[in-house]
Every structure is written in structure tokens, then in C-alpha cells.
């Protein structure tokens, strides 16, 4: 197997904008994340009602992955695309909601529908269910986007034959500030998979 891998496509969701390979495909007037992401979902004809049950982090990660994976002609039964995601705030946005529901005795009302999203890797499960990914998935926490660790980890999975492709990146949601950057790594593609290129693409928008 080739030791040089390539970035086939990439997506950004930030500043009320969804873009694929550096081209804006949707822009929203509203600065409110819930309005923006719902309108983006509709505009992109995502057609996946489970989306509305997801928490903010999962909605962000799901849509950033969906705009790339829907162009991949995926198998309806199963696909071996690993997911290596990272962020800074883990699931703190939803953690704070669960904490608010248990803080005071008088208003003690924890909800399983909220609690299940108090793990950052739940968004990997959501993407795996939609795209039939019976594959490697890992969620890392870093202080800031860390191209080197993602690149090494993706290379290892591809070199060792643990995955056919790897979808990597950063999906962070914290106090209504949000940012997603995902990129798909495989054998074929125009952009060489190294830390310089990953960093360049991350900063493209």
C-alpha cells in the first residue's frame, strides 16, 4: 500500500457559512446557531429527521460530514471510513444543560435525551448510523486544532489497513461559538496529506 495519502475533499462550517472545498454552498443571515443549522439542513436537502433530536455538537459534526460523504457513492450496507474527530470544548455545551437540570433540588429533572449527548463521541455514532460506518472512531481533545496528531493517526490507520478512508477534523461547539473543519483522506486526490496542507486548508476560510 502507498505510504503517501491524499486529501480528497474538505468542508468548513463557521460564521453562518457552509463550504465545501473552499467554495461557499450556503450562507445564513441569522447569527443564532439553531436557526442557521436548521436552515442549512433544509437547503442542503439532508432529509434525515433524526437530525432534530441531536444536540448542537452532533448537528454541527453531522452536517459537516454529510456534505462530504453524500458525494462518495457509499455502499448502502457498510463502509470502512474511520472517523478521527477532535475539539476543545468536548461536550460542555450539553454538559451545562444536564448540570442545570440537576443543580437545584426543587427543579431536579435530569433527562436521558440530554444526558446521552454529554459525550463528545456521540456525534461519531450519529454519523456512523447514517452512513453505515462499521469502523474505527476516536474523539480527541486538544487546546487548539492539532494537525500533526490527526495526520499521524490517520496515516497509521491507512498504512496498517485499519481503514480504507479516514474522515478527520475539528468540530467544536461552546457557548454559541461553533466551528467545524473536516477532510477526507484516502489514496487518491490532488492535495498531499501532510501537516502543512492540513493547516493551510484549515485556515482557508
Amino acid at each position: 500500500m502507498s505510504e503517501i495519502f491524499h486529501i480528497k475533499s474538505y468542508s468548513h462550517i463557521k460564521n453562518q457559512t457552509v463550504s465545501v472545498n473552499g467554495q461557499t454552498i450556503y450562507r445564513e443571515e441569522s447569527e443564532d446557531f439553531s436557526i442557521f443549522i436548521k436552515n442549512a439542513y433544509k437547503f442542503l436537502k439532508t432529509g434525515y429527521p433524526k437530525f432534530f433530536k441531536m444536540d448542537n455538537l452532533s448537528k454541527l459534526a453531522f452536517l459537516a460530514a454529510d456534505v462530504l460523504l453524500k458525494d462518495e457513492n457509499l455502499n448502502e450496507e457498510e463502509n470502512n471510513i474511520a472517523l478521527i474527530f477532535s475539539n476543545k470544548a468536548s461536550s460542555l455545551d450539553t454538559d451545562r444543560k444536564h448540570q442545570a437540570a440537576i443543580e437545584n433540588e426543587a427543579e431536579y429533572f435530569p433527562s436521558p435525551a440530554v444526558f446521552v449527548y454529554t459525550l463528545p463521541n456521540i456525534c461519531l455514532g450519529e454519523i456512523s448510523i447514517k452512513h453505515r460506518l462499521y469502523s474505527e472512531n476516536s474523539f480527541f481533545i486538544f487546546d487548539r486544532f492539532n494537525a500533526e496528531h490527526l495526520q499521524l493517526y490517520a496515516n497509521n490507520l491507512l498504512r496498517r489497513g485499519k481503514a480504507e478512508k479516514v474522515l478527520c477534523g475539528w468540530v467544536d461547539f461552546d457557548k454559541n461559538s461553533y466551528e467545524a473543519f473536516l477532510y477526507l483522506v484516502e489514496n487518491e486526490g490532488e492535495i498531499v496529506h501532510n501537516t502543512e496542507e492540513i493547516t493551510r486548508l484549515y485556515k482557508t476560510l
Partner: protein
């Protein structure tokens, strides 16, 4: 590819503050679980494995100022320090640090916490541990639900394999908090009695708190007697449900297959399975189905949740370390809480401690988000297949 090994290790738990005392208690059948009535944690009685904050502080004050560190930080630092000291490995540029936790310092979100909210960020937890010891590299924090502890071994192995590090220290830890208890209770998943993995009368899980640490190394010298080689590892998603296990055990089945494939051994060469066994009806049944599909019904298997409860992001590493000592002692430890089979497949649950020759074991874990991780370990001293 260079071989990688699990080497020096520590368990910091209600059963003791080092691996040897903890394993000694397990061999005697002593459980760390107790019944608690503490409305500040949960409005109703619960059963858990807790470590007294006072005991941890007394221990920590021997090496630093406990008032500057959270309970979890103290536990993880105390645990990791034993491993760093025992291994005598200089912390240079080729030494990595992996931190495995599901919720970290989540108790800081409570209104009466003495620490600022920024401390709830997992990268802050990583920095505090890095700075205490003076690690040269930024820590890699892994937060992948209940498979985190086993997956941390994969992560360490993979970074060593890429030549980034020669040695990786892993420390893992999670606390029993109001946050976690209320959440699992809202799922009606908690048992108020000591849990009974795979048993007919199992009704749910107990939670536990622990810190566990290990050195993963490519070095071929300076090993403790329980050191083991990592033969294979894999993670697979169920692609089925975010909070319920697959009814066919699909992800677990696939993760074990892939790990066996990398280890280049057959399931017949596995002497022991250290399984997840949370004692919820669905989890244990799912595991039984997966192991049956793998043709591993006869392989002796236990869950250690009856000793520690479910320790979340630390459980996989904790249970791997106990497995290493079980191998070294050539004793299979009984699956505490089990008496009568309560799953649909005839899996071989260990009912009492069994002395026997042991070489190779499989550690598995499954978690929310549909993730499943398997790691296969082999005694360092035995010949390669």
C-alpha cells in the same frame, strides 16, 4: 513494525493505591462496592465504589499541595507518579502522554465548586498533569465514552508505531459525581445493590471512581514481571444506536475479529476474556451474542464491575491491568456477583478463582455512541506463534 509492550502500571482505587494490593483484594474476592445514602450525590440510595477525598488528600500532601488540585487531578497524578517513578524513564521529547477520561473534572460545573469553570475543559486537565511531571509533549486527551481506557492503549501503540514516541504514559480516571449518577439514573440503569454481570438476576450497573496508569513502550528492556506485548487492537462502531447496544453484537464482533486478524492468531489461542459486563440486561446479552458468533463461548470470561463498579473512561485500562496480573499469577479471577447464567448464549463465566497456565488474553469494552474496542495481549516471556 516494532513491538509494543504494556509495562509498569498502577491502580488507584477503593481496593488499594497500587496494583499489587488491588489484585490481592480481587484474589480474595473483596469488593470495593458499598451502599450509600447521600442526597448531595443522588436523591435515593445507591451502590458505588468511592474513594475518600480525605485519604486522597493525605496521600497527595506527601508529594504536593492538595488544595491546588481537584480530587480527580490528585488521583490521576498519584497514580501516574507511581508508574513514572517505577519505570525510571527520562521524560524527554520521545515520551508521550495520553489521558483517558469521559467526564474529567465535570464536578467543577457544580455551583459550589472552589475551582474556576475553565478547569472543566479536558485540555486543562491534560496541562495540569503535563506540568506536574514536566512532560515535553502536549498531552493527547482521549474522550470516547466507556471504551476510552482500552482505546488509549491503541492510541499509544499507534503513535509509537508512527515513530512519534518511544514511550507513552497513559493515565485514566473518572469520578462518581452527581452529574454521572443522575444521568445513569435517568436511564433507569442503576442498581441499588452490588451489580451482577451476566447473572439471571442482574438489574443494572454500579458506578465507581478510579485512576489507572500504565507505561506503553517499544523498549525491550526494564520490564516488571507482569509486562505484556500488545498483539492486536481494533475499534468498530455498531452503526446502530447511540445509547443502546446492537442486538447482534455487530461492532464488538467486528472489533474482536479485526484484533485477532492483526494479532495473527485464532480465537482458540485466547486463554481468557476480560469483558465489559456492566450488568445491564442489554449490554451483557449483546456481549454473549458477539462471543458466541466468534466461537468463543467456551473461553473463560469475567467482568470486574462487581469489584469496582463501572469506572467509565478508566474502566478499560483498569481491567487490562488486572488482566496483566492475572496472567502473571496464572490465576483466573472469579466474576464477582455472578451465580446463575442469565444470557441467551452458554458463555463460560468464571465462578471461582482457577489456577491455570495463561498466556494470551482479550480485553473488550463497549460504550455509548456505539463504539466497541478490543485489545489482545500476550505474555512477553512466551514464544511467538
Amino acid at each position: 513494525m516494532a513491538k509494543t509492550y504494556l509495562s509498569y502500571n498502577n491502580i488507584f482505587s477503593s481496593l488499594g493505591f497500587d496494583s499489587e494490593s488491588v489484585v490481592e483484594n480481587i484474589s480474595k474476592g473483596v469488593s470495593g462496592l458499598d451502599r450509600y445514602e447521600d442526597a448531595s450525590l443522588l436523591p435515593e440510595p445507591f451502590c458505588a465504589s468511592l474513594i475518600s477525598s480525605k485519604k486522597i488528600e493525605d496521600e497527595f500532601n506527601k508529594i504536593g499541595d492538595a488544595s491546588k488540585f481537584t480530587k480527580l487531578e490528585q488521583m490521576m497524578i498519584l497514580s501516574l507518579k507511581k508508574v513514572v517513578d517505577a519505570s525510571n524513564t527520562p521524560l524527554n521529547e520521545k515520551v508521550g502522554l495520553v489521558i483517558s477520561t469521559t467526564k474529567g473534572n465535570i464536578d467543577i460545573l457544580e455551583e459550589d465548586s472552589n475551582f474556576s469553570e475553565s478547569r472543566a475543559y479536558l485540555s486543562e486537565l491534560g496541562k495540569i498533569i503535563q506540568n506536574f511531571f514536566g512532560f515535553k509533549n502536549e498531552p493527547i486527551v482521549l474522550s470516547n465514552a466507556c471504551v476510552s481506557g482500552v482505546m488509549a492503549i491503541s492510541v499509544a501503540k499507534r503513535f509509537i508505531s508512527e515513530g512519534k514516541y518511544d514511550h507513552v504514559f497513559i493515565t485514566s480516571g473518572d469520578l462518581v459525581t452527581k452529574f454521572i449518577l443522575s444521568g445513569f439514573n435517568s436511564f433507569q440503569a442503576l442498581s441499588a445493590e452490588p451489580c451482577k454481570p451476566y447473572d439471571k438476576n442482574r438489574i443494572g450497573i454500579n458506578l465507581g471512581e478510579v485512576a489507572a496508569s500504565v507505561l506503553v513502550t517499544s523498549s525491550t528492556e526494564n520490564f516488571p514481571k507482569e509486562a505484556m506485548e500488545i498483539l492486536g487492537d481494533a475499534t468498530r462502531n455498531d452503526a446502530n444506536h447511540i445509547s443502546g447496544p446492537s442486538r447482534t453484537g455487530e461492532g464488538l464482533f467486528r472489533s474482536v475479529k479485526a484484533a485477532l486478524n492483526e494479532a495473527n492468531i485464532t480465537s482458540g489461542e485466547i486463554d481468557y476474556i476480560s469483558a465489559h459486563g456492566t450488568a445491564t440486561p442489554f449490554n451483557d446479552e449483546m456481549e454473549a451474542i458477539a462471543f458466541s458468533r466468534l466461537g468463543m463461548e467456551h473461553v473463560p470470561l469475567n467482568s470486574l464491575k462487581g469489584f469496582f463498579g463501572h469506572t467509565l473512561g478508566a474502566s478499560g485500562l483498569l481491567e487490562t491491568i488486572v488482566g496483566m496480573h492475572s496472567m502473571e499469577k496464572n490465576i483466573l479471577f472469579s466474576s464477582k456477583g455472578f451465580s446463575e447464567l442469565g444470557v441467551s448464549k452458554n458463555i463460560n463465566i468464571i465462578k471461582r478463582n482457577i489456577p491455570t497456565n495463561l498466556h494470551t488474553f482479550l480485553k473488550t469494552a463497549s460504550g455509548f455512541g456505539g463504539c466497541n474496542t478490543a485489545v489482545i495481549l500476550k505474555k512477553r516471556t512466551t514464544n511467538q506463534p
